[in-house]
Amino acid sequence: MGDSSKQIREAARKLFEENKVDLIIGFEDGSLPLRATPCFIRRGEDAERLVWNSFCENNLATYLPKKKGKTGIVAKGCDSRSIVGFLKEKQIERENLVIIGVPCEGMIDRKAVEERLGEREILSVEEGPEEIVVKGTDYEEKMKKEDLLPESCRICTHRNPVLYDVLIGEALEEQKVADPFELIREFEGRTAEERWAYFCGETEKCIRCYACRNACPICYCEACYVDSSEPQWFGKSIESTDTMIFHIVRAFHTTGRCVDCGACIRACPMDVDLRFLNKKIEKDVLELFSFEAGEDPDEPPPLTTYKQDDPEEFIK
């Protein structure tokens, strides 16, 4: 991964030299082990700060809709698919964007690492090609990276950016995944009581900080249904049904738009399982309308279009 960092820096410097960008959004080292952090580079000499490693977990596309001027962005497969979503929804202009695409082998789930360590604090982490070495005051542990991937990375079939201007390194072979919706099918198989109990348990944890919404690239609305006062659709507190409605509608608003980047789950400070809703919708949209988000910028989003023979078995 060290090479990728170098190549990203070079690419960034070159873009500044050639006056192709005013800003590059990438990652730099974070302040904690297992963390990289988004950074905003405005001068070629600052490109030194850019890094690439298995901790570049944020979906940087989130920052794009508000940016003016020529912007460069370091994009993984999922970030690039979010960019496709923006192009589809006319939130950004392709000609103002330079995409530095980086093939991605998956970003390590820091919560998974912490869980393995119990409550031993992590003081430093070193990353190798296959594994990471985690060190604390009185321990050192090797962990295989592939065992630490979150579900969204584990089943990812878009490791390579779908859209880019510069590609860092070689494209990776895409994974073959037998059933990306395995967990969803398992959940669908449970009884309504079980599903309801799980949904209650997850939403009960929520503190309505809106980190999931704000971390999500497609939640770019100027005025969110959550904040509307006239009408106020539902309550703003953590009363259980209000929180549930927040989550149902948040998930519903991702219909045909979620690329399963995992940004919402990573952002959640309370470990709410947001993906079990998003992924369900992804599955249904594929089944019902044969649509997959983040593929073709010119294909309209599924809820803005229709076919005369769309499924209607649910209608009397």
Binding site: R195, W196, F252, L288, F314
Partner: protein
Amino acid sequence: MEMHEALQASWEPKIVAFLCNWCSYAGADLAGVGRIQYPPNTRTIRVPCSGRVNPLFILRALQNGADGVLVSGCHPGDCHYLSGNYAARRRFAVFSRLLEYVGIEKGRLHFSWVSAAEAGRFAEVITEVTEEVRKLGPAKRLVKKKVE
């Protein structure tokens, strides 16, 4: 317990029906003019088009104590606004699956196409929906507790 059973026995489902102005509402009207009998459990909200129905309308109805919700519009191809019901069909295909997925009972949420001429069909749909909701009993999930 007896009290509870007594309450259960006298319980009647409350159903909120969002009816499109051009077809289903007119169908309901015709049913009325034709004195066709159907259960009195629905509270009708007239909307310009089934495409006008925001899923938040449905959630709000359920949260505020509706035991069931019906959305009814024009048959495909008959939309006054050409494609409103097609858009609604896609939206509610996803939305109804999502609600069922999180554990809301399948029979709480209903959709139908009823034209302005189908007075008999309207009565049938309402009867069917009312009976399905009645079978489920009073809604408990997603219902906000009232402040005592």
